[in-house]
Symmetry: C2
Subunit: 231 residues, 2 copies
């Protein structure tokens, strides 16, 4: 692994406050690997071997049941996934696959568990990350149970606009079918939700979305920091 990569990893929120020795110990046996799009990284019900960090690219978390599949979340740099399974040494509840060409840091689960308890700074970072993920998931349940499909799309657009900093012009970096699954609907219904939002100034050409009247869209979406916040 290159020195510059090691330095980049050192800057990750998870490791910033870790002691030098802890970091060095964790880095032994670590893998920093590139993957093409569409590669399955982990599969639900497998035992947790590695903590994964998305250094670059985009990863989709998904789950299946009885022939159906749904997207649970998208993990962007610099995010981690399956931390909970790693910490408690249990099986994965989710599967993961790359959406774009991605670079992933893979840390042996045993190293993470060993580092906890010996390093307060690292432990705090782990707890913070775990709590963040937990709260995001609770928001997701509220989003699902308290809003309609079109409302979820409207709020997703507002959030995405804020996140990417692109203002009124939002560019999708995932297929619409994945967005549909993420929002808990079928691709067909996503199309219809988009045409519903035309009444509130949302227009789209392929993956390029324009939010023509942000106030009108927000009035329809009724965003709520207790559901939408990026945390």
């Amino acid at each position: 692994m290159k020195t510059e990569d090691v330095d980049a990893v050192r800057q990750l929120p998870l490791f910033q406050d870790a002691r030098k020795e802890t970091f060095a110990k964790i880095m032994r046996g670590v893998l920093l690997q590139r993957f093409p799009p569409g590669v399955t990284l982990i599969t639900e019900s497998d035992t947790a071997d590695f903590l994964h960090v998305v250094v670059d690219g985009l990863v989709e978390m998904f789950a299946t049941h009885g022939g159906r599949e749904t997207t649970l979340s998208l993990v962007r740099p610099v995010g981690t996934f399956i931390l909970a399974a790693v910490l408690t040494d249990q099986v994965y509840l989710q599967s993961a696959r790359t959406v774009l060409k991605s670079r992933l840091l893979m840390i042996p689960a045993a190293h993470v568990r060993a580092a906890m308890g010996t390093d307060e700074g690292f432990t705090r970072a782990v707890v913070a990350e775990l709590a963040r993920g937990y709260r995001c998931t609770i928001k997701e349940v509220k989003n699902q149970k308290l809003r309609s499909g079109a409302e979820r799309l409207a709020n997703w657009l507002l959030q995405e606009s804020a996140r990417s900093g692109a203002g009124a012009a939002v560019e999708l970096d995932v297929e619409k079918r994945k967005l549909a699954a993420l929002l808990g609907m079928t691709p067909e219904n996503l199309s219809r939700a988009f045409s519903t939002l035309r009444d509130y100034g949302v227009t789209s050409v392929g993956p390029a979305i324009r939010i023509g009247e942000p106030e009108a869209l927000a009035a329809f979406a009724r965003p709520n920091p207790l559901i939408d916040g990026p945390e």
Copy 2:
């Protein structure tokens, strides 16, 4: 606070492995309080002041948005709630109210945060509890997105039967309207879901449910340890 209560608290998973001093420190300023049914304990968007532990009784976690309300979970003894908000010193994402007469242990949030890092055993217990809650919530999202209403009810019945150890006779300890909200449907639809399950041997008289043909019900429900497990 009585000695026997202190001893009982000491036995909680969260404190079992804590050092003596840590436990003593946390216990200063702790409240062990009784509440009648229907009391609102915390409200979403309030800042996290106390970590709550349900010592006895039953607590409902719920959330509201735009005039709607949904039940997110039921917390039974000996469970905690809003641990994530306490650890990261943020606002609650959920509200809580007692369903039954309950006894609650309330630990000042600052004490919990202070104890972390100085006590490895306690920290591990906190992390374990946090990870458990996280995983339960992920299961809940999968439950919502991958199953129909009747399937959610069927699986809930099977799980409840296993949890309470009552075998084929399940006794509801919450109103059906709350169960409906927990399962993500209206009370009317819960009624209809129950009549759907009659075809699979489920009969009910008031709050007393009988699972007449467990195999038939399971065949319909298709339980999945990656969704249903009690964790």
